[in-house]
Each structure stands twice: as structure tokens, then as C-alpha cells.
Symmetry: none
Subunit: 227 residues, 2 copies
DNA sequence: CCAATCTCTGAGCAAACTCTGAGAATCCTC
DNA sequence: GAGGATTCTCAGAGTTTGCTCAGAGATTGG
């Protein structure tokens, strides 16, 4: 089980992320400051670090330098405010690290984590980045979706939504779950957006037979092959 | 796996270069001064050396002489300030060595490394230096690009951009990734330059059908053959 | 040292996307 | 089958994102 260290001083965010990652099948440890982070790196030996750059006791980037000096090779995913100085991010994606701007959606964060982890694995043992259900295919890496071989153009939100449904194919997801994962965590609107996007998705991928997106009345939605 | 030794006393630069080279599939060792460099040459037996000429403890050129006296035949790529005495360098690069002026772009450095390595390989085992996608061809060595057989004139930045996209054909690259690789490492501007250059590229290579440069809204760009 | 070329900036414009709200359609219960 | 609840669909407002262009500044080559 892949170990991930989450470093964020905002407890709510840290908890939220930790939850999502545990559900996604990772082993997670959370700390709230740089000092604990260094200790955790030594003891917990994480294989990836999710790091808020706005830490109270030490600049996130300085911390990374120190950690890597300590011998960790774990890639880092930085959490940063959307309008933060992009300059500081420069040079970051060279080593396969990445960053996600706040507020993010959990779906997006988990996707980035998967991409970074894949890049850091020896090329041979890498799985494919393609997910399938019936004749529907979704490629994480190239953002391509095809149904029955035909390419389908999806917007970003549509893509995230389909991705989340696909990861949980066969399992019924409640509206709340979907909103919490696919939309940014500070999204204030109601579930009608979701219905709208389900409608869009159906137009794009379910104009072919058989339909894959199914409504479970009073509960939520599932992606599955009907029998 | 080709071994490359990076000699630079600026830790940030050395790290940056090492990262980029590892991602490009080389085995890398980094040292920060001339003494360690000589030791590393003996133990690590690099097949190419990237050497900063502004070393604190010994003049880079003197070092090369000594190294070659030690029996290394590894070609050298010098890193030098842009306004440094170019004559000295010209004299040294006759042996198939090369130089890159700081600040460089990673794309450029890696390209030079590939060219130098290719020159040093026995003529028989050389691969081609031409990359293709559909009817688009790009030759690393001669800096020539053709689309549908027609030659296309590209400026240096356009060439680097296309090259980076082509190496990663089929994979969506974020703006940050592209800026980090194609632009010089101290570039401080924002992504609008990139958009401008994408526009230039499209005018030059995508006025033919089918278009190869595709925008993935909210994410970045891909080079791919549409289906 | 001048001219040509290249790079980058900024602003205006265009297109695409997200979300809202309201009415239509569907489903379920009684 | 009526009525209420739920879900679907659509059009449009508002926002975001990307494209293009002209021109200033830098660089290169003669």
C-alpha cells in the first residue's frame, strides 16, 4: 500500500484530503507543520508528499530542499493558492513533481497523485493509464475518451465526473459524494449542476447503445453495463 | 543506460539539470567541485560530462585537460555565462565537445547532449535523428522540419517547442511543464508567451490538414493525430 | 553600427465553459 | 390515474480561457 504524507496546517483541508486518499486506497499520515513533517519523513517513509506551501513555520519550498537533502526521493505535490506567484512554481514540473491550486477538487488531486506516482515507477512495472468499461475508454494521460472507438470531446468538469464514475463503476454514488469529489471543496451551489452535467455526459457518451449512465432514483447515479 | 556526470557548484542548477536528465532516461551523478569531479570520473566512468566553467576551485578548462590526461574520452558540454570569452570555448569544442550558455532551457541542453552522444557513437549503431508524426518530420541534427514534404522554417523557440511536444506526442503537457522545459530556467514571465508561440506554430505547421497541435482547455496542449 | 529578425508583453476579441433557474418529463405512491 | 416528488433538459447570463495581433525591446548577423 502506497504511503502518502499530507502536510497542511489547515486541519479541515488535511482531514478532507486524508479521507479521500484513504478511500482511494492509500496509507495516509497527516502533520500540520514543517518540524513534524521532517520527523514523519524519517519514520513513515512516504512514497509521495502532499505539501501546502503556506506553512506557518517554514516555507514549503525550503522544506522540500531539506527533505531531499535528508535523502527522500519521494515526489511532491504542492498545494497553492490559485493566484499565488507562479514564479515560485517554476522549475517544479521538471522533476516530475506537480502542483494543484486551491480550491481543488478531490478528484483532481487524486488524479494528479496517480500520474506522479506512475511517472516515478520503473517504466516496466507501469500499468496502463487507460480505464475501460464495455466499449468506453478513458485515458488519464492524454485526456482522451472514446466510445466504441469514436473519440468524444469532454470538458474538464465532464471529464472529472466521468472519471469519478468510472473509478467507481458498478457502485452507486450519491449526489453528495459526487459533488464532494468532482467539484471544488468550497463549492456552494446545489445538486442541480450535477444533474445538468449528467445530462451533458449522456448526450456525449450515451447516444450509443447500451446506455452506461444510470439513475438510481432517490439515491444517485451508477456507471455500469446493463444486463 | 548512459552515464552523465554533472559538475556545477550552484546546487539549484545541478539539481535541475540532474532531474531533467534522469527524466530523459540518463543515469546521473552530480558533484560540486573539481576535486570531486576527478574522483567521480574514475569511479562513475561517465560517458559524457556537463561542466560549469565557473568552478570555484579550478578553472573548468584546466580540469578538462587533466581529465583527458587521466584517460577519459568522454565528451564535454560546457556551461558558461552568455558573455564569457567565446574564443576559449571555440578552441575547445573542436573535439566534438559543445557548450551551452546560461541561462539555458532544459530542452536545449538535452538536445545538445543527444547530438554530442550520437557523434561519439560508432556510425553503425546510431539511430536516426528524425522524429515523425503523421506527415510531420523533425530532424534533430539538421534542425529541419517538414510537413507533407514541404520544408518549414522555424525559429529557435518554435523549434524547441515543437520538439518538446513531439517527444511527448500523445501526452497532454501542462503550461507549466512546457515553460519549464522549453524556456530558460530563469524565465519569469507568464504563460502568455507560450500561447503566442503555439499560435505561431499553428500558422506554420497546421495550415495543412489535419491539425496536429491541440488545445486541452484548462489543462494544456497535445500533439497528436486526430481520429 | 545598422538592419533584420526574433522574443516577449499587453490588450482586445472570440469562443468555450460553468452554473442557474424554470418548465417539461418521468416515476412513485396512494 | 391523480398528485406530488424527483429528475431531465434547455436556454441564457456571467465568467473564464485561449487566440491573435501590433509593437517595444533585445539579439543577431552583416
Amino acid at each position: 500500500m502506497t504511503r502518502i504524507l499530507v502536510v497542511d496546517d489547515e486541519l479541515n483541508i488535511a482531514e478532507l484530503v486524508a479521507m479521500a486518499l484513504k478511500v482511494a486506497g492509500f496509507e495516509v499520515k497527516t502533520v500540520g507543520n514543517a518540524r513534524d513533517a521532517r520527523a514523519a519523513v524519517r519514520e513513515f517513509r512516504p512514497e509521495l508528499i502532499v505539501l501546502d506551501v503556506g506553512l506557518p513555520d517554514e516555507d514549503g519550498f525550503a522544506l522540500v530542499q531539506r527533505l531531499q537533502g535528508d535523502g527522500t526521493k519521494a515526489p511532491v505535490i504542492f498545494l497553492t493558492a490559485r493566484d499565488a506567484i507562479e514564479e515560485k512554481i517554476h522549475g517544479l514540473t521538471v522533476g516530475g513533481d506537480d502542483y494543484v491550486t486551491k480550491p481543488f477538487s478531490l478528484e483532481e488531486l487524486v488524479a494528479r497523485i496517480r500520474v506522479v506516482l506512475r511517472r516515478h515507477q520503473p517504466a516496466g512495472s507501469r500499468g496502463s493509464s487507460v480505464m475501460k468499461l464495455a466499449d468506453l475508454e478513458l485515458d488519464d494521460e492524454s485526456y482522451m475518451v472514446t466510445r466504441g472507438g469514436e473519440p468524444v470531446e469532454l470538458t474538464r468538469t465532464e471529464f472529472r465526473l466521468l472519471h469519478y464514475l468510472l473509478v467507481n463503476a458498478g457502485r452507486v454514488l450519491t449526489r453528495a459524494q459526487i459533488l464532494d469529489h468532482v467539484w471544488e471543496y468550497d463549492f456552494g451551489g446545489d445538486a442541480s449542476v450535477l444533474e445538468t452535467y449528467i445530462s451533458y455526459l449522456r448526450h456525449k457518451i450515451d447516444k450509443f447503445e447500451p446506455p452506461l449512465v444510470h439513475t438510481v432514483r432517490g439515491v444517485g447515479y451508477v456507471l455500469r453495463v446493463p444486463r
